[in-house]
Symmetry: C2
Subunit: 334 residues, 2 copies
Amino acid sequence: MTNRQIILTTVPEGALGPHHFELTEAPMPAPAQGEVLLRTVLMSIDAANRSWMKGATYRAAVQAGDAMPTYAICEVVESASPRLSKGDVVAAEVVWADHVVRPAHKVQKLPPVQPLTHLLSVYGIAGKTAFHGLMQVGQPLAGETIVVSAAAGSVGGYVGQIGKALGCRVVGIAGGAEKCAFVRDELGFDDCIDYRSTGMFKALRAACPDGVDVYFDNVGGTVLETVLGLMNERGRVVCCGAISQYDTDTPTGPRNLPGVVVVKRLRMEGFIVMDFARDDAKAMRALQAWVRAGQIKVTEDVVEGLENAPQALIGLLNGENRGKRMVRVGPDPT
Amino acid sequence: MTNRQIILTTVPEGALGPHHFELTEAPMPAPAQGEVLLRTVLMSIDAANRSWMKGATYRAAVQAGDAMPTYAICEVVESASPRLSKGDVVAAEVVWADHVVRPAHKVQKLPPVQPLTHLLSVYGIAGKTAFHGLMQVGQPLAGETIVVSAAAGSVGGYVGQIGKALGCRVVGIAGGAEKCAFVRDELGFDDCIDYRSTGMFKALRAACPDGVDVYFDNVGGTVLETVLGLMNERGRVVCCGAISQYDTDTPTGPRNLPGVVVVKRLRMEGFIVMDFARDDAKAMRALQAWVRAGQIKVTEDVVEGLENAPQALIGLLNGENRGKRMVRVGPDPT
């Protein structure tokens, strides 16, 4: 019995393409004492995956020849540890593969939530990133204005909906008229600005008549530069990601930094979701309450098949997803 | 009787030069009811003066034809207000001139400190900016490493000496070997790196073997980009100024922003000294204690004569000052 996995064959310079990956077959791995054999069910596709190829971040760099790492929801199919049993559903850091062996203490048993996809979207990495970043770093108050970029993406969509639930004015930024309509009409943002259109600064200024108090930045680059020009004094910039800078070898910095930070006394602060793991239970409780109340709509974008993971990531970097993108590798456990 | 004042005749594009200013004579102003006539004694020369010409900041932009604004120490020579008497020594926002009329409620009577110059340097805008920025925004702890740019300048020198008094490792950045020697030998920094030399990144890395916890940024630009690459996780960047960006029409942003802020979970925060005015008494008490204990050396750079104010500012923007630069317009009150 063999096991499919996808290798990053070369580290990309410039834009990521399908030729940077290869689907290979290897013998089925077997768990040693203390390990479990996992079957991959759903793999999270994130912009951060691309940043991992650029060097060491909060994790070691992905190098040429490595199986591509990912967060995933898996089923335990064989256990050599008393910690876990066959049939358990777990979250784990694995690789793009049908099966992976991991130490049992490195995987986390999941609560019984249905559908499982919600454990990657609203109750998973996307929803928790939005919740912790907005609440703990951005700290918006009712009546303030929040701007969020990549608003049609997984994190951005939840940021805006949480902001609306808190009583804020929420303006999204997304690429293209169709996405902006989705953000306004489906997600209920007050407005959404197309960053690809000309006159983005004027459009955003018109959409934010009281200025911007919190900017949740998923993109960096020129969009960040533009929003900084509209921030109010004492505004907060939640630095969550910089997708505009990942898929290139010639990153550009906002030219108004750090001057505008001084003049307006801004706070820019970075975070990653794991920093706030101790508050994950609070996030889960709040997100469930908002979902039940109909204040958060769960948006998911599921790509079928392990072999389509490279294109799922490439497409995400080009902004083709709506909501949380994931790849279904196999069926839910029965 | 006439009054000399210096006008900004044109708003500079690119570097500031003497041709942007003109010394003029006007009739001596007279105070109306509620106003005072001030004689300028000492004018503060600050990098921020140049940024005021670039547009609205925390104050209105300086425009062509305006007398050049400044903070100054003045003597009341005629009072039409019960608030102040002839002979009082005050701090005021005035202009580059021998005499200025101001509303009495807009000027602040000064405590009896000698020499008066200390009220612009260690106990004035420079020392308070260093104290509030480092203590309230940077929040260093003993044993941490502080890096400060423009270390031979007014604010930078006090930042480093306060850091040493707190038990931190302190590394300066300055332009040229002579200035670096001043920072190390006269101000007592642990080390000082010449940003004009090649290999600044490597030199700074060697000087900060435990990484950088607090970066007090007075310059922005490529120096900021370099230090960001050496910050520790959870590091704090105190955004005080961006002198490298003021005297140019082609500012450059650090290319690693905001990516490095996310990955290292940095906090970058801007401030201006007036934000912390309510804590000025604390600053004064602490600075006086350190000066008395010999832990802070007061460095001042006094240029004589109102007519030399333009060159004093131009020279400061080119980094020629050591310590707090000011212009003496007239003698101390007797």
